[in-house]
Amino acid sequence: MTFSFLRTRKWKYQKPSRIEQDKTVRRRIKYESELDIGFREKIAKMAWGERLDSCMQCGTCSATCPVSHYMDYTPRRIIDMVRQGFKEEVLNSFTLWVCASCYSCTVECPRGIKITDVMYALKREAIKQGFHPKRFLIPMLASKFYKQVLRHGRQNEGRLILSLYLSANPLLLLRNSKLAFRLWRRGRMKLFEKGIRNKASIRKLLSSIERREEEPVQ
């Protein structure tokens, strides 16, 4: 499970990237016992997921998505897999993390499904259940962000990226150092910034609205 293109330095635009084929023969069958029957209900119960069941698999979401070609399962397939209880495949999929929250699918869906919000629900579920790939930048960014805001009440882009790259892949830091320098020279990057005045209040607020896991959303 690697992103080969992350390593390519140059890409030739005119030629579409070669399709990597899995040459090994693999048995593919899904037994009912492997499915998580309650998964559909769980996701549907989360906020704004109520209309999951009315999906007619038209594919508008995938076609309108600007990043669907980086997904292993298109959003349409994710929706159906959620409905059918393919929990592991869904939570292991890149699709959740590639989603850039642009809301195109939500706007276009002819059945009014809030697909972006379903993706958020799946992201939360994946983080909670520890499903996302290790050292995969996007969920890491989310949790770094989470912690930074918890600590300072505000977020500092420079420091966020710095700590993200440090713990994920220090090489990335090197690659982006020039950009950082240019930003800094134009006064658009600060590494040190004080957060909000009353930092404790943020922690107090967030810990007080901790929700027990079983508590259903209505």
Binding site: M56, G59, S62, T64, T74, P110
Partner: protein, 667 residues
Amino acid sequence: MTSTKQNGEVRIGYFVCHCGHNIGATIDVLKVADVIKNLPGVVISREYKYMCSDPGQEMIQEDIKEHNLNRIVVAACSPLLHENTFRRATEKAGINQYYFHMVNIRENASWVHVDKAEATRKAIDLSRAAIQRVFFHQALEKKQVSINPNVLVVGGGISGIHAALTLAKAGKKVYLVERDPTIGGLMAKFDKTFPTLDCAACILTPKMTEVKNHPNIELMTYSEVEKVSGFVGQYKATIKRKPRYIKEDVCVGCLDCIDACIYKDGKYYDEFNVGLSKRKPVYIPFPQATPQLVVFDPEACVRLKRGKCKETCVEKCDRDAIDFDQKEKFEEIEIGSVIVATGFQIFDAKKIPYYGYGKYQNVYNALEIERLVNSSGPTGGQVVMRNGEVPKKIGIIHCVGSRDEKTNIWCSRVCCTYSVKLAHLLKELSGADVYNFYIDMRTPGKGQEEFYNQVMREGVHFIRGRVAEVTDWAAEKEEQGKLIIRVEDTLIGVVRRIPVDMVVLGVGVEPHSDADKIRRLFNISCSTEGFYLEKHPKLAPFDTASDGVYIAGGCQGPKDITDAVAQAGAAAAEALALIDKGFIEMEPNTAFISEDNCSGCKSCIPLCPYTAISFDEEVFKAKINEVLCKGCGTCVAACPSAAIDQNLFTNDQIYNEIDGLLKYEIV
């Protein structure tokens, strides 16, 4: 209390139905029968599997005879469904049918409730109310109203034409009103019809001519129904005749005036060719238009706009048929029944901006393509795009405006097969590669699946996926200058960008934007989407809630020609059944005044919408004309001295119904 009991001691028979599991599964029918048995007046209380079946009805009749019953209460389904069945059964057993009353414990209880105890309690309450009510029932006779045999058909599309011809052939006088200058409707614009590919004009024009020539049909084109009054059997309608500026009885349709017009070429939007060509201010919609009469467009004609023109057309017309002073006329006609066949309109693709209709010139809607591929169309059947080129690759998008919560939620039913048909025609005529983009392929009619299969084998591509956008921005060299369709091929699971030259939008159908106006004229209900509501979706798809008003064709819901014609025939047969009976039986639910109580206050008189109440100055009392009364009961509710009452819904009956419903708390 005793005064209302016309036939001695009240002996009630109560029958409760299981309706198989429909009622029995939710309501404890035995318990209900048991509770009702002990109520005063009830002689016999029974339950049965299917009360409406023959044995069920026979049971009622036998009980009436055996136990000398004189009131019958049946608790079963909705009175709108089976009230008449049981009334007939009661009548057969020798007592007046209005001694019967029906309790709805299926639609109103067992089907909509889950809690068995509560549903049973509700059934008992409703039954108790009915038992108390029937004490006050009286013997009544149905009143009869004669029927005017003339029929008004609104809409001259294929449905209206077929209905009018059926009625005319049966010897009935028909007024066929059409708002366009010609009859023929949408079908006249089509080239070939699916799935048999027979030419629309070849099968439609003979029927149009027949309409024109039939002695029983009075054709009123370029006309609209303005006002309707009266009731079943005795309707009056006012028809607005828009001026054509042509003497209809003089013009022979030589079309010389069109040649003579000061405009050498067409300049105005051609309605028949949906804008693909231009017409002159004086025009005939299409060569086979019926009637063969020209029309002057008052918005375009120089003479009509400015009052001054060389009037070359008038010079040319040797029959002197042109009359610029014509005014709107109103005609009043009397009819007994109405068939509404106003059809549907196509969805306006501009409402979906991401398909680029109206923005990119080579995006067409399906109706435009029908004209484009038509051999008598603006290009003579050549598939030439607006930019003058012949397309090499064509994309046809299904479900445009249909199955979408933001536009129309319903399936338009015809688009799949007509898109397949257009794919076939476009491929045949232009040799282009044709791609069809569908969500679900729905080709349910006779011969349609076979047709779909045939077109698949012709090499038309079918891609399952709803198109997300049609744009002109190119990501690849091959996409330059093309329209790019972005879609997920859902069966493969990959997003594709397909560059095409021409995009055809398979637009859905929807109710006319002014359907509401017609609906109010005839007092027809509408389903939520705006199509006219039938009385019963299965058993009376051509009937409406207004007696004597029938619906046919596209105004009732999306349908193809086959179904529209079938429904039109059924509506005509239904109207014939009404007419040939000669009279109509009305519910005797009229209001009546007990003169002793009337104080002469006149408050009821302005309330009656049918002016059925008059005032007798001599005795200083109000009087109700039973023939005019439609039985709404508004006057009854308003009478301050309780002098007015309504048969079938008397005050005593309703008060006792209320009492029965709420009795158990005090018990």
